[in-house]
Structures are given as C-alpha cells and as structure tokens.
C-alpha cells in the first residue's frame, strides 16, 4: 500500500469516525449506548492499528485489510442516529465489515488470501449483505429489545412470524459461515510451526472467541434476547481487542528487532553463534551452513559436507553475504521469510561472526580432509613424545601393528609396538642416545606384530620443534615393505635357482651386451671351466675374441641379429680356450632382458668337439671301408687274372699244342699233356686259396680254433695258438678271425719275427662279456695303422662292433695287438645276427 493511499484512507477514517462521533454524542442512544460505544471503539482501534501496520509493513496487505475493516466498521455507527432511515441504513450495513474482516483473518499473517478460502469470503459477503437487509425489511424493530431505537424505515411487512424467521435464517447462516471460518482457523493453527503459532495464536484466539460468541448469540437470540445481547457484547469486545492481537504480532517483530542488540551482546559473550541467532530470530530449529570457497560446497560447523541448503518443507534458506562474498546460509522457519528485514539485520549483525565461523568450518573441513588422507594413506604415520610414547598415529599403524583400536596403541612405547623383544633394549638405547635433538634418521626393521605376522617397515623420522626450538615430539613415517621384501626374496630365490641351474648344466651360457662384450657375472660355470676363464677376467671381454678368426664374421652377425631382437638359429663355431685351444660349439644367440630390463644377448651352446670328432671318424671309417672294399675287389680281380685265369689260358694253349702234336709226335704230345695237368692242378690250388681268403668255410662250420689252425699251418713263421673251444656269435668269430689273420699276415710281411703267439679268450666271469684277441710277435715293432698296413681296416671292423683295438709296437720291441670285442646281450647289441657282419670281401691278404 502506497503512502498516498494510506494517507487518503486514514483521512477517510478520521472523517467517518468524526461523523460517527457526532452521531454518538448528539443522539440519545438509550439502550444502544453500550453497543454503539463498543462498535465505535472497535472500529477506531481497527483503523488505527491497520494504518500502523500498513505503514510498518507496506508490502504486507494485513495493514490495508485491517484499515478496510476499520473504515467499513464505521458504517455501523449510523445505527446511533435517531432518524429512522439513517438508523435502518446503519443496521443494514452494520455487518458489512465482516467481509474485509474474514479476508483479513484468513490471509493473516501473509496478507495473501489462499485460493481455497475465496468462497468463504464470498459467502460471508452474501450473508452479511442479505441477512441484515432481510431483517430490516421484515422487522420494524431490527435490534431486538431496543426500545429507544427508531423503527425500520424499510419494513415491508410487520408480520412478527416473518420477522422471526428472517432473523433466524440470518443467524443460522451467519453461524454457519462463522463455523466454517472457525474450522478453517483451527486446522491452520494445528498445521502451523511454533514460530507461526506465536504470530497467529493471539489473533486466532480473539477471532475464535468472537466467532463462538457470535455463533452462540445468533442461535440464542431466537429464545433469549438478553442472553443474545450479552453474547453479542462479548463478541464485540473480542473484536475490539482483536486489533490488539494483530498489533501484538507486529510488536513481536519490533521486539525481535530489539533482540538484535541482545544478539550482539550474546556474540560478544561467546554464546555459540547458532544459539544466539536462534534466540534473536525466535526459531529454535535454526540451522547454519557455511560456504567453503576452497571446496566450493556447503559444510556444517564441523566441516562436514552438506547438501545444498535450499528450503524444504517448512524451512527456508537465507544466504548471508559478508564483504560481497557468500559466507553462510540460515536455514530457518519459512515464516521468518516474511520478516526479511529482521533476518537481514540479524545476518548483518552476525556478519563477522559468520566469517569467523565459516573460516573455522573451512579449517575443520580441511582438517577432516587431511585426517581422511592420513587415515587412508598406506604409509604409517606416528608421533611419539621424547619418552618414546606414541601420542598420535594413523590407521595404517593400527593395521601394521595388529593392534586395532586407538587405546591399544596410544600411550605405549613405540618399541613395544614395532620392535621385537630381542631388539628392544638396543632400540631404547638408540632412542635415548638420539635425545635431545632426535636428528632426522632412516632405518628399516622387521618385527612380529600382535597378530603374529612378520612385518618389515622402512622408517623415516624427524623431530618436531616448539616455538623455542626444543624438540617436543618425533614424527616417524613408515612404509610397510613386507610384500616388497617378500617379492625381492622370491625374486632372489628365483635368481639363485636360475644361477644354480645355469652353473649346473653342462651347456655354456654367456651373456653379452649389444656390442658383444661379456656383462658382469655373464658366464656360467661350464663355460668358465671348459675355456679356462676366471669370471673377473672375462667381464668386458668381447665375445668375438673367444671365437676362432674364421668363425668371427658369422659370430658377429649372430650377436648383432640377436641384439636387434631376432633369435638366431643354431650354428657351429670354433671357440677358443684361454690358452688358444679350439673347441667346436653348437650355439645360438637369443635376445633377452636382464633383471633391470636392459636388452642383452644370451649366447648358449654345447661342446660338440667330441661329437664332431666322432662324426669325422665315422666318415673316415666309412671312406676306409669303401676304399678297403674297392681294394679287395681289385685284389680279387688281379688274383683271378694273375692266377687261375693265366693258368687256364696256358692250359688252353697246352691242350691245343697237344692236339696239334698228337698225330705226328706222340712223345711231345704226352709231354704237353703232363704240363697241362700240372697247370690245371696249380690253377685249382690258387682258386682254393682265393676262396679261403674270401671267407674260410671252416670258420663257419667248426669255429675259431680249426680256422686259425689252417692259417697257422700255412704260416712260414712258427705260431703258437691258445684258442678256446667254445663258439661265439658269428660276427664276433669273424672279427676275431680277421684280427688274427691280418695280424699274422703283417707279421709275415713286415715284422721279421721268429715266433708268433695267438691267444683268444673270453673275459669269463660267469658270463662272457667280451672276446679278447691277442697276437704277439718278437719282431722289429714300429707297426703304424696309418701307414696302410691293414691294421686301420681292423680298427674299423672292431669299432663297428663297439670294440677296441689296441696296438703296442715299440721299435725293436715286437708288436702286441689286442682287440676287445663285446659280446652281444640277448635282447640287443652290436653282435646280434645280421649286425656287425664283416664286409663281404674285406679279407686280409
């Protein structure tokens, strides 16, 4: 309501009530005096309080509504007139003030009429307009029992029954409307919050009292005029006092404003901010929220995060700014929103306190944040005093120590918690020796915690100083490295195992860098032993220096390839021992990462020198067998050609000569025949000898003894033989026979011996394991298998049966040839039938 309108309304009110006062003072009121005075007084009070409220709360319609009630109320004063028309008009309009009154009471305290209540106002308007009108039209004495009152000027019918019916209907309808308002107000009161009840309580009380009186009066008037009048007076008194109730609501605000001074005092006295504000605003449910600029969120006084403090339900939020910055929010009863000025004044008064509380809340929030970090950190944090007692610690300490719960750790000496009993004395001494400076230090300790688990902690401690520089506490941060230690140990075990394996295997292992230099500890035992290196000398040496010159290029390529991540296929190279001897090694180069992740090349190889030598020997042996076979074939062909073939050719010529001589010279023919017969006999001998040289039939049929006796008989040198009668597998007998035959042939050809001894024996120890052939002569010695004496062929033959041929032949000391030939085991072996048979024509000659 604008001031201008307010001024006009007040002026109108003065005018109306001045006129009413004139009426009251000039007329003889008689019985009406009391009623008129009450009505006048109530109207005046409504007008005055309405004007005050409108001026005080211009945005709230309550004041205007009260003013409207007061102004309309004045119309009732017309009943004081002696003039019948004016009196009747006053009566007809006397209840009209209930329309703005109903509006006022249902709108209080906001001044806004709820939509649902509009029909009530409309109904009241109809009742208070039509009701009195119907009375003045039917009853010549509208005010019951008023003898002094003028008669109705508008009466149309002076039927007493009709008049009574109209009055009763009016009373009933008015009572019904009043009852509707009554019920509505009761419900609203019950739904109100305490602060709202304090505001509306007095108003509702007076209103309800008046309504009860009116309802009762209306109903009683039909039976007792005096009682009705009494109730009407009671209602009027209540109505007249009602503005006082409205005023009290306004005075509450005034008192609250006065409470701001008390608020300042309370804050100065150290009363908690929330409590002081709750008192000042009259809202015990008040809550405070502080704005944490750092975290950009609302927190409570303890620094705990809050949801956005937006009004919910009966609450409203008022954000408080200080110095242009948002600092806090008041979460208060919604009714306080109607007292914006009060809330703002309170907030302004407490601005500094808000800022202080906000900073404290923010500090607490930061502290909680740090506390959360410290408690969730995996590191152990503990603070001990200068006596070594634990004064503060985080959650990780409880976990590592196995002492869950603050009381189990707090106040104990740290050595009782973290140091094993056996080491406590030493630790105590060490701690005391560090006093009073307790310099920063690092150490690692292993202990058995309260749960019986072994823990390893790496500690770092530092002193905490007070203002004077004295050490008051020692803070120690620790990292539980148990798992790391365990992994290190596992890794070390794996490494030791790998090293043990690498040192135990016969293969060579050398680890080189991308340039081929051997890395520290980069060779295994097998390599060091086989190549006569000391590890310390080998480190840094180029692997290529360990390879023979001819193989260096191949080795260089292999290392370079592996260094570029390409595993190399196996190759054979000659590696050099430290004293220059060559070993043939089959090796590969493989890219690997060492324990630090550095790219290395793993050279791994096996010594194949012996295998290569054996392969070479086998190749040579095969070549010799082929050569021996070829030579035997050539020898056989030459023997046939030079021997039997020649004799048969000569025989043919002799027979032809005989044929030509027979008719003319019988004597000569007979002579030729004799020569032919001699030639034929020699041819037969030679063929027989030849066949024996291929394979002596007697050996197959009768064994070693008889076969060798045949050789001995034909030998030009005396031979002594010592041969067992038992039979051996055919391959063994053949090999033994040819060893003896070749040896005897050599003796005859080269040894210039006078006697030979041949001995064949089984190394009989229950079961014959091998056959030994020994041929010993007393000749000149110096036999050498490499000079093609046939001994090399014997070596091949004996070795093909996994046997060994030994030759001792010192110059001038005779020759001793000894062949040891293993006898086949039943299931397998070199002398099985068909295995190790002699070459078909490799006979000695």
């Amino acid at each position: 309501m604008t001031r201008r309108r307010l001024g006009a309304a007040v002026a109108l009110g003065i005018l109306l009530y001045a006129a009413a006062l004139v009426l009251v003072l000039t007329d003889d009121l008689g019985d009406r005096r009391t009623l008129v005075v009450f009505l006048f007084a109530a109207g005046v009070v409504f007008t005055i309080t309405g004007a005050i409220a409108a001026a005080r709360r211009p945005r709230n319609a309550t004041g205007a509504q009260m003013l409207a009630v007061g102004l309309v109320w004045s119309l009732g004063s017309l009943q004081a007139a002696d003039d019948s028309f004016v009196f009747t008009l006053g009566f007809a309009l006397s209840a009209l003030a209930f329309v703005p009154f109903t509006w006022l009471i249902l709108s209080y305290p906001t001044g806004r009429l709820p939509r649902d209540d509009r029909w009530i106002v409309a109904a009241v308007a109809a009742i208070v307009t039509l009701g009195p009108l119907s009375v003045v039209l039917t009853d010549s004495t509208p005010i019951t029992g008023c003898a002094d009152c003028p008669e109705s000027a508008f009466v149309l019918s002076d039927d007493a029954g009709l008049a009574r019916a109209a009055s009763l209907a009016y009373a009933l309808l008015a009572a019904a409307a009043a009852l509707g308002v009554f019920v509505r107000l009761v419900r609203r009161y019950r739904a109100s919050t305490p602060p709202l009840r304090r505001v509306v309580g007095p108003v509702y009380l007076f209103t309800l009292e008046a309504l009860v009186a009116l309802i009762a009066g209306g109903l009683v008037s039909t039976v007792s005029d005096s009682a009705a009048l009494w109730l009407e007076h009671l209602a009027l008194v209540s109505l007249a006092l009602m503005p006082v109730a409205f005023l009290a609501g306004i005075l509450r605000t005034r008192l609250a404003r006065a409470g701001i001074a008390d608020l300042a005092i309370a804050l100065g006295n150290g009363t908690p901010l929330r409590d002081a504000l709750a008192d000042a605003l009259g809202d015990p449910s008040l809550r405070l929220a502080y704005w944490s600029a750092q975290r950009e969120e609302w927190v409570d006084g303890e620094g705990m995060t809050l949801a956005e403090p937006i009004a919910r339900g009966a609450n409203a939020a008022t954000v408080v700014n200080h110095g242009g910055t948002r600092v806090a929010a008041l979460v208060h009863d919604r009714t306080l929103a109607e007292q914006r000025e009060l809330v703002d004044a309170v907030a302004a008064t407490a601005g500094l306190a808000f800022e202080k509380e906000r900073l404290q809340a923010e500090l607490r929030a930061q502290y909680r944040f740090l506390e959360t970090i410290i408690d969730t950190a995996p590191s152990l944090l503990t603070v001990v005093d200068t006596e070594g007692r634990i004064r503060n610690f985080n959650r990780a300490v409880e976990i590592a120590s196995g002492l869950e719960g603050r009381t189990r750790v707090e106040g104990r000496h740290f050595w009782e918690v973290f140091i094993d009993p056996a080491e406590r004395e030493a630790m105590i001494e060490r701690f005391r020796a560090a006093a009073p400076d307790f310099p920063a230090t690092e150490y690692e300790n292993t202990f058995m915690n309260a749960n019986g688990q072994e823990r390893v902690i790496a500690w770092h401690s530092a002193p905490l100083l007070d203002e004077s520089g004295d050490v008051v506490r020692v803070i120690a941060g620790g990292i539980d490295i148990t798992e790391r230690k365990r992994r290190e140990l596992d890794l070390q075990r794996q490494r030791d195992f790998a090293n043990a394996v690498a040192d135990a295997i016969p293969s060579f292992i050398v680890i080189v860098d991308h340039d081929g230099a051997v890395v520290p500890a980069g060779a295994n035992r097998a390599f060091l032993d086989a190549f006569s290196w000391a590890l310390s000398k080998l480190e840094g040496t180029s692997f290529l220096e360990l390879v023979a010159d001819d193989d260096e290029f191949s080795a260089r390529m292999a290392i370079a390839g592996a260094a570029n991540g390409v595993p190399q296929s196996e190759r054979e190279s000659r590696w050099l021992t430290r004293d220059g001897q060559e070993r043939i090694v089959a090796w590969t180069a493989t890219p690997v990462l060492d324990q630090r992740g550095t790219a290395r090349v793993l050279v791994s190889g096996a010594d194949v020198t012996e295998r290569a030598r054996q392969e070479e020997e086998v190749r040579a042996s095969r070549a010799r067998i082929v050569a021996a076979t070829d030579a035997a074939r050539r020898r056989l062909e030459r023997n046939l050609h030079d021997g039997a073939q020649q004799r048969l050719a000569a025989l043919s010529l002799s027979l032809r000569l005989t044929e030509s001589k027979l008719p003319v010279d019988v004597e000569a023919a007979l002579e030729s025949l004799a020569a032919a017969r001699s030639e034929l006999a020699q041819a037969l001998d030679e063929l027989r000898e030849l066949a024996r040289g291929l394979h002596p039939n007697v050996l197959t049929d009768r064994g070693l003894g008889p076969a060798l006796e045949g050789l001995v008989v034909r030998s030009p040198i005396p031979v002594t033989i010592d041969i067992p009668a038992e039979r051996f597998p055919p391959a063994i007998e053949a090999a033994a026979y040819y060893v003896a035959a070749e040896a005897l042939a050599n003796v005859v050809k080269y040894a210039q011996a006078t006697e030979v001894r041949v001995r064949i024996s089984g190394d009989d120890d229950g079961e014959v394991q091998s056959v030994v052939v020994e041929v010993v002569d007393d000749g000149i010695g110096g036999a050498d298998p490499s000079r093609g004496s046939g001994l090399e062929g014997l070596e091949d033959r004996v070795e093909s049966l996994d046997g060994v041929l030994e030759i001792e032949s010192p110059r001038g000391g005779g020759t001793r040839i000894r062949a040891t030939i293993p006898v086949a085991r039943p299931e397998s072996g070199p002398a099985e039938p068909g295995h190790g048979n002699p070459p078909p024509v490799a006979g000695p000659h």
Binding site: H641, D642, Q645, Q646, R647, L648, A649, A650, S652, L653, S654, R656, L657, S660, K661, S672, A675, E679
Partner: protein, 117 residues
C-alpha cells in the same frame, strides 16, 4: 725257303711264355726272345729287332699301351694279348698303334699272322 718271321714274347707269366713259344714255333714263327716286363720289352725290341712283338697288356711295371707309346717310328708290328676280352679295353687297342688283339686262349700262329700286313 723263306726265313721264319721273328717274334718277341712279352709276358710276366712264365707258363704262358712257355706255351706261346711252343705254339708259335710249331706254327712257323722264330721266337727270338722273351721279356717279363715293360722295360725289358723295350730293351729287347731295341736289341733283337723282332718283326713282331707279342705284347701282354698287363705287365708289372707298365701296361702294354705304355710300352707301345715309347716305341719309335720303326717299331715292329705289335700284337697285344691278354687273358681278358678285347672289349675290356674298349678303344684303347685301336688307338695304341698295335696291329691287333688276341685273347690268350685263342693264340695261334695263324691268328698272329692274320693281323700282320
């Protein structure tokens, strides 16, 4: 009466030389000498100047082809003999300059004479 054709027998087997001498002499050849190896043959050819040489292919020191290669322009007619077949020596005989080849079992004066000019 025309004089008999002189012939030198070269073979390392005495029995064959003896039989060949008897056959050839019976068939009218004049066996003027024998040799048992290559060197001996070359020497005898030089000293005895035979008209025909019965030369064994396989001799201890060198074969008959080697002997032939060392004979000069005025070399006598050479007939090669062997206990092997002529096919064993393939083209060597025709390239050797010899008059021909006779298997030892087939030797006769007629066979030798058939190869001479």
């Amino acid at each position: 009466m025309t004089s008999a054709t002189t012939i030198l027998i070269v073979d390392d087997h005495p029995s064959f030389r003896r039989c060949a001498r008897a056959i050839l002499e019976a068939d009218g050849f004049a066996v003027i000498g024998e040799a048992d190896d290559g060197e001996g043959a070359i020497s005898a050819i030089g000293s005895l100047q035979p008209e025909v040489v019965l030369l064994d292919v396989q001799l201890p020191d060198m074969d008959g082809f080697a002997v032939l290669s060392r004979l000069g322009e005025d070399a006598p007619s050479v007939v090669l003999v062997s206990s092997r077949e002529a096919s064993d020596y393939d083209g060597l005989i025709s390239a050797s300059g010899a008059r021909g080849f006779i298997s030892k079992a087939d030797l006769s004066g007629a066979a030798v004479r058939s190869l001479l000019p």
